[in-house]
């Protein structure tokens, strides 16, 4: 059972973060205050929902770009995390360094988005994504191997020129 005050605090901050400006500043700060682990130089788009109940179960690495209206769900009702792992910091959703999450993506519990992976707009991530892999669709499936990571300053055509379609 979630404590009432802490639950209201996390949700209140989520509402503020949802509306706040500052993809790499204020919004990040608000999510960190809620308990989301976010690395350096990451960006979170507007109207993003990051796990309302257990934000501390979400880990976002360095140089991650997350588009607007992304939704991250880290808990499954009726499926608590393994109690044996309580001593270590439990992570349900892990987004590794240099990843790119397009707008409108939904990320479901217990997945890792590998280093430098790209999730295309509107995808639903139900399984972990290997590093430097582009996934698309519902459920998201690998469509290409990325030659370079898609960072916020990477010219998009340079990124495309190094993509290799998967069979």
């Amino acid at each position: 059972m979630e404590p009432l005050f802490s639950g209201a605090f996390k949700r209140g901050l989520q509402i503020l973060a949802y509306l706040a400006p500052g993809e790499s500043s204020l919004r990040i700060w608000l999510h960190r205050l809620r308990g989301v682990r976010i690395g350096a130089d990451s960006r979170i788009g507007m109207a993003t929902l990051i796990e309302t109940s257990f934000p501390e179960w979400v880990s976002i690495g360095n140089h991650v770009t997350m588009g607007m209206r992304t939704t991250i769900i880290a808990h499954v009702v009726g499926l608590p995390p393994n109690r044996n792992r309580k001593k270590e910091k439990y992570t349900s959703v892990r987004i590794e360094d240099d990843s790119f999450v397009g707008p409108g993506v939904i990320i479901l519990p217990n997945v890792t988005i590998g280093r430098g992976a790209v999730v295309m707009a509107g995808s639903v991530v139900t399984r972990s994504v290997p590093p430097l892999t582009m996934v698309q669709g519902n459920p998201a499936k690998p469509v290409a191997r990325c030659g370079v990571a898609l960072l916020w300053h990477t010219p998009i055509k340079e990124f495309y020129s190094k993509l290799r379609p998967l069979e």
Binding site: M120, Q136, V143, K157, Y160, S161, K162, L163, P165
Partner: protein, 92 residues
């Protein structure tokens, strides 16, 4: 695998995006050499992959875009000439 001219590659690519061009009221023969399929909204990021996959499948080669200026990746003229050049290199 027969070598194709840039014109033949162009026909192949435009055939692939024919429906998107038609939606914009364009015909393949109206497309100028400097037409950027991406910025004109004819293809998106998936479209680029689909065009590359289709061209590679039809020609039976893997095309490396390392030596093509990334800015020209989605511009019809340079893109097709690049692929035609790669076909010739494979032939040799």
């Amino acid at each position: 695998m027969p070598a194709l001219s840039a014109e033949q590659v162009r026909s192949l690519v435009l055939e692939r995006v024919q429906s998107s061009l038609a939606a914009k009221g364009l015909r393949a023969e109206d497309i100028p050499d400097n037409y950027d399929l991406l910025t004109e909204g004819v293809i998106d990021s998936m479209g680029i992959l689909q065009v590359i996959t289709e061209v590679e499948a039809r020609l039976g080669i893997t095309v490396d875009f390392e030596d093509l200026d990334p800015e020209n990746l989605t511009v019809i003229g340079p893109f097709c000439r690049h692929i035609a050049k790669k076909c010739v290199n494979v032939e040799k």
